[in-house]
């Protein structure tokens, strides 16, 4: 097997994705793992979550409770009798996500127990606890004593701490550090000496465990707390209020660090941020991490960062060009310096380090991709400029050499990887939305496979960091709202990338392994010769709701591959934005839908079989199509924007289907770019987001 870079699934002991297809099954199964960890049905042990009424504990009680219910694993939620009810408060959210019946069932499986901190309740014995998820306050001695109590009572129990700061070496237990919001965020930073069944079970349950090294504060907190500290330092240097710093940080990188603290709960979040930075500064003797006086104060007082509602800000702050540069030095400088430390220490796979920022800290681009865009020279210059503003930070934890290998595949393939066995290649996409980085990485992956003489390929989600494929990253469209050329460039170049999947391989198979595949990602995969999806996947073209006109050939490509009697279904998909289930789409959008195992096996047979594969290939017409219905009788939405977008999409369909395949790419790109400059697009979701994020 050869890899463009190490597959992230290998870090979980699961092997490369290529193997999933070749073996025709996933490397592990949730049911088997539950049996191994909690015992056979009828003798199932329990998960215990201690500190279960806290923000983390309650969120994880819901997340694990909803996923383990079908395996009849009871959840024992343990806390002090005086702890305010954090679990009951989760019910409404649970009901909204799963419906009342399922919410009741999940809640019924949660057994709430009180204890005094020293003696475990006798009811626990009957529950046979096999796994303790500790979510109690961040006090080292208290945590250690807590583990002792459990180990004494249940010597075999597996323990993981949700700590955000203490290393496993200090705690004496492994770490599963989850990310906010805890009910729904699937990411867990995992610290353990070797991959455990618990970690693999998390993966098998659809969560995203990410192995990181054992340090004082893990990747997420270094990034998030570090960014917060950078914002605080800028505040101290400029007086700019935190709410406004948030807006500039969001424009620059994506996160709102101060709003996030208030949303999580300033009292606890301020303490955790301070504690993380305090430990880092102490253990590395590094002023770059030292909490600033303002942060000390907020930690002590638990004060919010944003003004109270009745004091919504009155005076706006703007930034001159020179101010912008200084701001970027204050913000990018320390974040880049902290990243240099993490890269130097090899704290995680770079794709992981990058994804953590995007999935857990609102980074528009992960920190590695962000710095990659800057390039090594500019990144180092930014840090040096920061050091002129904060000279004592220069003395430690600065590793400029860490940016010296930005040309390597580890830096260059953060989102897209390729694997092959000499005959069949697999391209994996580890980002839920398509952007220019994914596009560039996709091209490099294709180039690599072609150079390796691989002619058969499966293109799929990465079975790890992307649990679904939701379409284009709409923040990429901001410039196109005012410059038609930019819209055209995006649409045409991304479409050309997609066409390579059709044109440059003997056999290509798009594989939809997550619960959704929408918009641009669906357009990308439909360019493959075959499209295979798991049963549960929903497929859709929601562009009309944004509104935009699809730009990656979705307005003609599927028509060219389907029978005329199926065209009304495609029109409905494009004009309503309503998704369809994979099974319903067989024959006119996908070629096969089935359970995971069967889908994996089918994909492999199709791609690997030198002779006639198990699926007939739908023929592709490269001529102008005739007879595309001009109307499918949709009721008028009553919304002028939707009415105008439907007309624009219909115009695009008619025009791009009405020319040859060779001409269609340009026709569609022009339609898509033209609509992005319209009042409807500017006034829609993308335009509003752009105004909110960029015009600060």
């Amino acid at each position: 097997m050869r890899f463009l870079r190490q597959p992230t699934t290998e870090t979980l002991g699961l092997g490369p994705v290529h193997e999933f297809f070749k073996r025709g099954q996933l490397p592990t199964d949730a049911g088997d793992l539950v049996n191994r960890i909690f015992g056979q049905p009828g003798k199932r042990g329990a998960v215990v979550i201690s500190g279960a009424n806290g923000i983390v504990g309650a969120g994880k009680t819901m997340q694990l409770g909803s996923r383990l219910l079908e395996f009849n694993v009871p959840i024992a939620a343990l806390d002090f009798p005086s702890a305010p009810d954090g679990i009951g408060a989760q019910y409404q959210g649970l009901k909204a996500s799963f419906g009342q019946k399922r919410a009741d069932e999940i809640m019924a499986n949660v057994i709430r127990l009180n204890y005094d901190g020293q003696h475990l309740p006798s009811e626990l014995n009957g529950l046979r606890p096999r796994f303790l998820l500790e979510a109690i306050p961040e006090i080292l001695d208290v945590k250690k004593a807590h583990y002792e109590v459990f180990r004494k009572a249940f010597p075999e129990i597996e323990i993981r701490s949700v700590t955000s700061g203490f290393p496993a070496a200090e705690l004496g237990v492994g770490i599963a550090h989850p990310a906010f919001p805890h009910q729904i965020n699937k990411v867990w930073e995992i610290v353990e000496t070797e991959v455990s069944p618990i970690t693999q079970l998390f993966w098998a349950l659809g969560l995203i465990p990410i192995p990181v090294s054992d340090n004082w504060s893990f990747v997420l907190d270094v990034l998030f707390c570090g960014l917060t500290l950078a914002g605080v330092r800028y505040h101290e240097a400029s007086n700019m209020p935190f709410w406004k710093i948030d807006k500039f940080v969001r424009r620059l990188m994506g996160p709102n660090p101060f709003r996030a603290h208030d949303a999580i709960g300033a009292k606890g979040a301020n303490f955790l941020t301070w504690s993380c930075l305090h430990h880092l500064s102490k253990n590395y003797s590094a002023p770059v991490f030292r909490p600033a006086p303002t942060l000390d104060h907020r930690k002590d007082t638990g004060q919010n960062w944003y003004p109270l509602n009745h004091f919504r800000p009155v005076v706006d702050w703007s930034m001159s060009d020179s101010g912008d540069d200084e701001f970027e030095n204050w913000l990018i400088g320390p974040v880049a310096q902290m990243t240099s430390l993490m890269v130097h220490e090899e704290r995680s796979h770079l794709a992981h380090m990058n994804a953590i920022g995007e999935l857990c800290a609102q980074f528009r681009k992960g920190v590695i991709a962000f710095l990659r865009d800057l390039g090594p020279e500019t990144t180092i210059k930014r840090v040096e400029s920061y050091h002129r503003l904060h000279p004592e930070a220069a003395g430690s934890c600065w590793y400029p050499d860490a940016f010296g290998s930005m040309d390597s595949p580890e830096w260059q393939q953060l989102y897209v990887n390729a694997e092959h066995d000499g005959k069949v290649g697999v391209i994996t996409i580890g980002r839920e939305s398509y952007n220019s980085d994914v596009d560039a990485e996709m091209n490099r992956a294709i180039d690599w496979l072609r150079a390796e003489k691989v002619e058969r390929v499966i293109v799929t989600g990465d079975f790890h960091l992307s649990t679904q494929l939701v379409g284009a990253d709409t923040s990429e469209f901001y410039p196109a709202l005012t410059e038609a050329d930019r819209g055209y460039a995006i649409s045409s170049s991304w479409s050309r990338t997609a066409r390579r999947l059709n044109d440059e391989f003997k056999v290509s198979v798009g594989f939809i392994n997550g619960k959704r595949c929408l918009g641009g990602m669906l357009e990308l995969l439909m360019h493959c010769h075959y499209l295979i999806a798991i049963d549960e996947a929903a497929l859709g073209m929601p562009e009309v709701t944004l509104p935009v006109v699809p730009g990656m050939e979705g307005c003609h490509w599927p028509f060219r591959k389907s029978r005329s009697e199926d065209w009304p279904r495609l029109l409905e998909l494009l004009l309503t934005g309503r998704p369809v289930g994979a099974r319903e789409a067989v024959g006119w959008l996908v070629d096969f839908a089935g359970p995971m195992q069967e889908s994996l096996q089918t994909a492999w047979k199709v791609v690997a079989d030198e002779k006639k594969g198990p699926l007939p290939q739908r023929k592709m017409s490269d001529k102008a199509l005739k007879g595309i219905p001009a109307d499918i009788g949709l009721p008028d939405s009553g919304n002028p924007a939707i009415r105008a977008t439907r007309k624009a999409i219909m115009d695009c369909i008619q025009s791009s289907c009405g020319v040859s395949l060779a001409e269609a790419l340009e026709v569609q790109a022009k339609h898509s770019a033209g609509f992005m400059g319209s009042e409807f697009c500017r006034g829609g979701v993308i335009g509003s987001e752009c105004t909110k994020v960029m015009n600060v």
């Binding site: 240097a237 007086n239 935190f242 303002t294 919504r312 800000p313 005076v315 706006d316 702050w317």
Partner: protein, 404 residues
């Protein structure tokens, strides 16, 4: 310059750590829509940021305003909270003397050693001023209602007279000539527009963007809105409301804020962008003149001040006053036989308006900036205040401070 022992010898105003909003006329800007205490706090923070003064250096805050504002009970600590800075402080008011008296009080705070860096922040919103409802058992109506700005302008309870009547009475007492007062007022407008065109005002006034409750742009405060160029003919044609008082020879209500720092000598050197400039407090005086003669009170205060310090008008490099009526300056000129053309070189409240609390703070800031550009010297600031009061102060800007 002769040696005079200054009052508050340990206190300084650090050059360049000041600023004021523009003073738009009442009801003419977004300032009519805001809680002025909150606005002032946020604006001071912004101004100090622009002046490269970290707000954290501030140890104490003295705020001055004359018109009640929402939550004024919480005084300076609340306003400081609007800067994201938790410090103590207090509120003071003395009608239109507020803007100077607050600075003097800050100097006393520093000189006493209580605090090293004291912020002075004065502000008022005349637009939509609050209406107070006062139970008055002895009044025939049992309950009295008072619109804070206009009812007070119209009635001094100690004398029973309106402000405008004071101007007329004082003009008659000093035999002011309407033609000269019109000419004076016209000259004041010319001075203002000349200073504005020269860019001088940009050195002290800071444009500020105001947000609405949704966080969207509500308006930009970047002019003394409402100030219009007047002609001498136009002024002469205006009907007289009282002796020598017309719409053109009296000021107008406006909204705004102004701020500066008072610090120890050492701190001033640390905080100022031009540490070589030293600004000291020399002396201050106040008088209360006879009933309803408020416009002559400032001249009497200056007389007292010069008498005490031994300085003369010839020693002053900058003379600037709060002059709600043009007759104030005409009377001052008569009392001192001083050419009114030599005063108010960069504009004055007669032209740019009367937001009460911050008026004399802006006068002071402009005067100090002007003195620096002239190479330093004594600066005389004075003005009138409700109750027939006059206030005056002399500051000294070190020589050699000419604008680079």
């Amino acid at each position: 310059m002769e040696k005079i022992s200054p009052m508050f010898a340990g206190a300084r105003i650090p050059y360049g750590t000041w600023g004021s909003s523009y003073f738009p006329a009442w009801q003419m800007s977004a300032l009519a829509e805001v809680n002025i205490g909150q606005f002032a706090g946020e604006a001071m923070n912004r101004i100090m940021g622009l002046r490269k003064v970290p707000i954290d250096v501030l140890e104490y805050l003295i705020i001055g305003s004359t018109i009640p504002w929402h939550w004024k009970f919480w005084t300076a600590p609340l306003v400081a909270a609007c800067m994201d800075h938790r410090i103590a402080g207090y509120h003071m008011e003395q009608a239109c003397a507020t803007g100077l008296q607050a600075v003097v009080l800050a100097a006393a705070e520093v000189d006493s050693g209580s605090n090293d860096v004291v912020g002075v922040l004065t502000f008022d919103r005349t637009s939509d001023s609050p209406v107070g409802v006062f139970p008055e058992r002895r009044a025939h109506r049992r309950t009295e209602v008072l619109a804070d700005v206009w009812d007070n302008f119209g009635f001094d309870p100690a004398t029973g007279k309106a402000m405008i009547a004071c101007a007329g009475l004082a003009a008659r007492k000093h035999k002011c000539d309407r033609r000269e007062v019109d000419e004076l007022a016209f000259y004041r407008y010319e001075q203002y527009f000349k200073a504005k065109d020269s860019g001088f005002l940009d050195r002290v006034l800071v444009p500020l963007d105001v947000l609405n409750v949704q966080g969207r742009h509500l308006g930009r405060i970047d002019s003394d809105a409402g100030v219009r160029k007047l002609t001498l003919e136009g002024l002469r044609a205006m009907p007289e409301l009282d002796s020598c008082v017309t719409g053109g020879t009296q000021t107008h209500a406006s909204d705004g804020m102004a701020t500066l720092l008072v610090t120890s000598k050492e701190k001033a050197r640390q905080l100022s962008p031009r540490p070589e400039i030293d600004i000291q407090f020399i002396a201050k005086a106040e008088v209360r003149t006879d009933p309803s003669l408020m416009p002559e009170a400032p001249a009497l205060a200056v007389q007292k001040l010069l008498g005490r310090t031994g300085l003369t008008m010839a020693d002053m490099v900058v003379v600037k006053d709060h002059n709600p009526f043009a007759v104030n300056d005409a009377i001052f000129s008569k009392v001192f036989n001083y050419d009114w053309r030599k005063m108010n070189e960069t504009g004055c409240p007669l032209v740019w308006g009367h937001p009460q609390g911050p008026t004399l703070t802006r006068v002071l800031i402009e005067a100090l900036e002007e003195a620096v550009s002239l190479g330093g010297g004594y600066v005389l600031i004075f003005g009138c205040a409700a109750g027939d009061v006059g206030i005056a102060a002399i500051l000294k800007v070190s020589e050699g401070g000419k604008q680079k």
